[in-house]
């Protein structure tokens, strides 16, 4: 895997990191025979474990109930995701049948060993957190979750000690917290500054960049991995810009479509570990995974990308 360094402190490292990212990507360019360069990864700050920079979300897209046809389509998306080198799949008890559908897909695919299972606890009672996590685990049919996050900070004061105890007992490998759409950022910062967590999950994209000011630098300073949700504003961002042609200079960072343009902007931030776009389409998951290959933009290119999208 092509692993990008994860700086722990200082904006000064930014250019060095981006240069390193570009350099390492160039070491494994796509060959003329169509062989792909290795997938881009970032180390999880607390352990150094390599994580492909594009994961798979399940919000709305995997909540298909008992519809067998739709479940099979979701399994096909997961197959395409793993085939392209993906690891992290993220879900929540809040997402309706998504957990069951992921379990269905994993069973159909023979439980790929490269899976990194990211779940959440979402219940107002701290005492019932363990039971909910166990129920989720049975849906997924996995021996344990790699990551359990406190969803939208619900009862985080009660859940984080439970998750810490589970981590100490080897029942979960990483713990984290989540928010979305820019909510409760002050609380997120306070928890990041005071609690021992491995991951924070936030919304971030080329237009919604508030987290660049405080949360992303704090994550780097504290050695906390960052998972990015809602990269496409639930599809609205793609729909808004799709009618415009991709700028020719997007080829410099090996973007073939807008999805890759948006995702590469996100994962090129040195604090970001992984982005988790959701989709029901195999073609789209392949497009998304394309953002985990090839060159990433440097800081100057990132500014150009943001300015370009803002003008559209």
């Amino acid at each position: 895997m092509n692993q990008l360094p994860h700086p722990r402190a200082g904006r000064r490292n930014l250019l060095r990191v981006l240069a390193a990212a570009g350099t390492t990507a160039l070491l494994w360019p796509a060959t003329g025979s169509g062989q792909r360069s290795p997938i881009l990864t970032r180390p999880i700050p607390s352990t150094g474990e390599a994580m492909p920079v594009v994961g798979l979300g399940s919000w709305i897209t995997f909540n298909v109930g008992n519809d067998r046809v739709a479940r099979d389509a979701c399994a096909d998306v997961m197959r395409g995701f793993f085939a392209a080198g993906g690891r992290m799949i993220d879900s929540s008890p809040m997402y309706g049948s998504s957990q069951e559908v992921i379990g269905y897909g994993l069973n159909r695919l023979g439980h790929p060993s490269r899976l990194f299972s990211a779940e959440k606890v979402w219940i107002s009672s701290g005492a019932r957190g363990r039971d909910q996590i166990e129920k989720s685990r049975r849906y997924w049919s996995v021996p344990r979750f790699d990551l359990v996050q406190v969803h939208n900070l619900l009862a985080w004061q009660e859940h984080l000690p439970t998750l810490a105890a589970m981590k100490a007992a080897g029942e979960v490998r990483y713990v984290g917290i989540t928010t979305s759409e820019g909510r409760r950022h002050r609380d997120i910062e306070a928890i990041m500054g005071s609690q021992r967590i491995d991951f924070v999950q936030i919304s971030y994209n080329v237009l919604d960049r508030e987290v660049e000011d405080r949360i992303l630098p704090l994550a780097r300073d504290r050695g906390i991995g960052v998972i990015v949700n809602r990269p496409f504003r639930e599809g609205a961002l793609i729909r808004a810009i799709a009618r415009h042609p991709l700028p020719p200079w997007a080829a410099e960072i090996e973007c073939a479509n807008w999805a890759q343009f948006i995702l590469k902007f996100i994962v090129s931030h040195p604090a970001v570990t992984c982005v988790i776009p959701a989709t029901t389409s195999v073609a789209h998951v392949q497009e998304n995974m394309g953002a985990a290959y090839g060159r990433l933009p440097d800081e100057a290119m990132r500014r150009r990308m943001a300015a370009h999208v803002e003008k559209l």
Binding site: I60, N63, V64, G65, N66, A70, G96, E234
Partner: protein
């Protein structure tokens, strides 16, 4: 919920429109041809209203309660709850409405029906006809597949709308207790369809609003003059 002002209706939508309407499609396929029987029950309500007399007072709420109970179990609890955890609460509310209809109309005999002669009565009849005839056509007219059509006694919206009409047709008084759950559902379903961008989203909230206006007018009429 903190920072509640930052939430939009879309934030509460757990599923895609495709999944929602596929739910109706699979439900209809599983039940077919029960939809015809349910529509027959709706036509029976119209015939009972036309016949008048003492019989309809208990038969009509019995038919309606059967529809509400089935939708609670067959739709909300068995199907909708697979994609929306809130549907278990909807199932409980629909079952509660069924029990209220049985208690008020069947056990206590408090629902009386006469000829739909007044404007309010004709409006009530219009609600019932709309639920039976027009509502199944809305989906196909909006571009959805026929097999996703929503019919009285099977799907929630036409069952709720027919109930609003029947309650407007009741001659003795306005039954606010019986109106509250149907009106609340109109808000819920309107919000859901609105969040999905469905063109028919305003239908149920507007129906509820019209029903409430007519119900208020009915309270100002002398008892027994509401529909005849």
């Amino acid at each position: 919920m903190s920072e509640w002002w930052t939430y939009t209706l879309q934030d509460f939508l757990l599923f895609s429109p495709r999944t929602y309407y596929r739910l109706f499609e699979l439900y209809n396929r599983d039940l077919w041809p029960a939809q015809i029987l349910a529509l027959g029950a709706g036509v029976a309500i119209l015939l009972l209203l036309r016949r008048g007399g003492a019989g309809p007072e208990r038969a009509i709420p019995t038919i309606l309660a059967g529809g509400w109970l089935w939708v609670a179990w067959g739709f909300h609890f068995q199907r909708y709850a697979t994609i929306n955890w809130a549907a278990t609460y909807f199932a409980a509310a629909f079952a509660a409405e069924a029990l209220l209809l049985i208690w008020t109309g069947v056990v206590r005999g408090r629902l009386a029906f006469g000829a739909a002669g007044s404007a309010i009565g004709r409006s009530g009849l219009g609600f019932v006809l709309f639920a039976l005839v027009v509502q199944p056509l809305i989906g196909p007219l909006a571009g959805r597949d026929w097999v996703q059509a929503e019919t009285f006694g099977v799907a929630p919206d036409p069952t709720v709308l027919a109930t609003l009409g029947i309650l407007l047709l009741a001659t003795n008084r306005v039954h606010w207790g019986l109106l509250s759950i149907p009106v609340a559902w109109c808000v819920v379903t309107g919000a859901t369809l609105w969040a999905m961008g469905s063109p028919d989203a305003p239908v149920m909230p507007l129906a509820a609003l019209l029903c409430l206006i007519l119900a208020v007018r009915k309270t100002r009429l002398p008892r027994g003059k509401g529909t005849s």
